[in-house]
């Protein structure tokens, strides 16, 4: 068994392409994509919040008070294009403010004066701008109504029956955790990618080079041969996992997190926890991919199966992304889902619930062992041994 293990590692380490792909590019890809994505997102967000707001206005002459209020707030009022709807539709402008002649009339009469915001709410990037414009309009509206009430001798507080205050208990870590929501997905995909090549090479590859039949003639129970191969694949997956986590830690330390008023709780200690949590998942990935690859007759055939299986770790991750909920016990018992929720808790800086960690390790470990046991029986099937005829 050790002989198989050592040989498979040696064999695969000889392949420079494999090393570059799985041990260097694979672990690096996640952190790099992640870092670029986050710094881009936050830069965009801060730019939108702080950049001077340019607002094209149609019919500015109908509401000089409003316009001068906006200008005092630092909004740059610009000339609106001739066809405001078309301009927004073609994404030349994000938001256009339109004031019709009826504005002045309604204003004089003391009715709510119509103000029209032209925007495409399905364009996500314009959300911040719309919110800012609405904020200014709301502020002005509040100011005017207070003045009006005071003129009539009514205390403005009468119109504010309640005063809502939100006490934000989020910590910089927990706000950072929101950003790190993608992390479990990247970690798990690294594990799957890390074991993929080796799983194929040791099974389908062995069949393709016609070396499986001679190998099985050796005086070794077949499950031991499989165990050696699985062990090598798992080691490879663990190596990629470790490298990937370290790469993440390094990449995150370069992010401008202070600017965002958050802390990314991803240091080596957290990485070590994540490694522990994902270690049984590495065996599981290795066994799952090995089982699939063992059925394939060639490298290519195996790779075509793998494309689909790579989606498996995505399912729980995306579920969590779409429907974020509090971690409850049953979640920690579902392999792959448990890694997701626990890593998220971890990066949010919450104390580790050791019982949950234990449950996750136990259930994922058990699933992995079952898969490994199935893999161990595979070479007892003659149709998986012979390449042809």
């Amino acid at each position: 068994m050790m002989a198989v293990y050592i040989k498979e590692l040696l064999d695969n380490f000889r392949d420079r392409r494999v090393i570059i792909n799985t041990l260097i590019l694979g672990p690096l890809m996640g952190p790099v994509i992640f870092a670029v994505m986050i710094s881009f997102m936050t830069r965009q967000a801060t730019e939108r919040m702080e950049a001077p707001l340019e607002l094209p206005v149609v019919g500015a002459e109908h509401a000089p008070n409003l316009i001068s209020f906006l200008e005092r707030q630092g909004v740059i009022i610009t000339e609106a294009p001739d066809d405001p709807e078309a301009a927004v539709r073609q994404e030349v402008e994000e938001v256009i403010l339109r004031l019709g002649p009826d504005f002045a009339e309604a204003w004089e009469a003391g009715h709510p004066a119509p103000v029209e915001l032209i925007a495409d709410l399905s364009l996500r990037y314009s959300g911040t701008t719309i919110a800012r414009v609405r904020g200014y309009l709301g502020a002005w509206s509040g100011q005017v109504s207070q003045l009006r009430l005071q003129l009539r001798g009514v205390h403005p507080d009468l119109t504010r029956p309640i005063n809502v205050q939100v006490t934000d208990l989020s910590t910089p870590e927990s706000r950072g955790g929101m950003v790190l929501a993608f992390l479990p997905y990247f970690i798990l995909i690294t594990v799957f990618m890390g074991s993929m090549h080796m799983a194929i090479d040791t099974t389908a590859g062995e069949r393709e080079r016609k070396s499986l039949e001679p190998l099985l003639i050796n005086p070794l129970p077949r499950w031991q041969i499989m165990a050696g191969k699985l062990g090598a694949t798992t080691s490879f997956a663990l190596m990629t996992l470790a490298l990937g986590l370290v790469a993440f830690v390094i990449a995150m330390s370069y992010l401008p997190v202070e600017d965002m008023d958050m802390a990314l709780n991803l240091d080596l200690r957290v990485a070590a926890w994540a490694f522990l949590l994902c270690a049984p998942a590495a065996l599981m990935a290795a066994a799952l991919l090995t089982i699939l690859a063992a059925f394939a007759k060639s490298f290519r055939e195996a790779q075509s199966y793998m494309g689909l299986v790579i989606l498996v770790p995505m399912i729980p991750s995306f579920w969590i992304l779409i429907d974020p909920t509090r971690t409850v016990t049953w979640m920690t018992m579902v392999p792959l889902l448990s890694q997701n929720v626990l890593i998220l808790d971890l990066v949010r800086g919450e104390p580790m619930n050791l019982a949950w960690v234990g449950l996750s390790l136990a259930t994922t470990g058990l699933a992995a062992l079952v898969l490994a046991a199935i893999a161990g029986t595979l070479y007892n099937r003659p149709n998986l041994i012979f390449t042809s005829g």
Binding site: L10, D11, R209, K210, S211, E213, N218, P219, I385
Partner: protein
Amino acid sequence: MIEANALRKTFNKGKVVAVDEVSFSARDGQITGLLGPNGAGKTTTLRMLYTLLKPDSGGIKVDGIDPTAEPLKIKRALGVVPDSRGLYDRLTARENIRYYGRLHGLDRATIDRRIDEFVRVLDMAEFIDRKTDGFSQGQRVKVAIARALIHDPRTVLLDEPSNGLDVMTTRALREFLRQLKSQGRCVVLSTHIMQEVAALCDRIVIIAHGRVAAEGTADELLARSGEKTLEDAFVKLIGSDEGLLA
């Protein structure tokens, strides 16, 4: 010493009868040839001998060991050069052979000593430390033989060993097989080339359509068929000359 008794193997749920009631024996110190045209059932018979396939019925004994009872022991007793001779092409020839030595549980020193022996006997010095990627057929066969015999087995099975070899390499291979025989080993090889059995084998088992058509020494076969040349004898015994004349 191999005894095969009424071996039968079918594929595709009994639709394809690959081997049907094949019985023969192969003695130590002799080379036994399984001769038959393509698809006759030679490979299937050998696969049952080296326990990769389970016979549907019938029994095998190698040196008195029953493969169903002691599969690992029988594998230790056998050295097999199967039909497929895939090597690991990122490893050198030496590493390929060493891997099989480790799988047999041999220690490092024994493996190295045996490899040195093979390098000498099989003339492998030139390529033993090269990666096997791009090896010629002859070089591949030599590596496959060396790794199959690394544990010094008493019984040697070879499936079409001279497939794809040129005349010189074939001669060297035959010489090597004679050496194995003179060391008292039991050698069984399969081939569809009649000249090969004629030149090499002490006993000949003719297989056609999954059955043993005839068995014996060359002289016995001549006598039984009443023909003058081996070639005619084979044609008569099999009932046709398909695929036997190389």
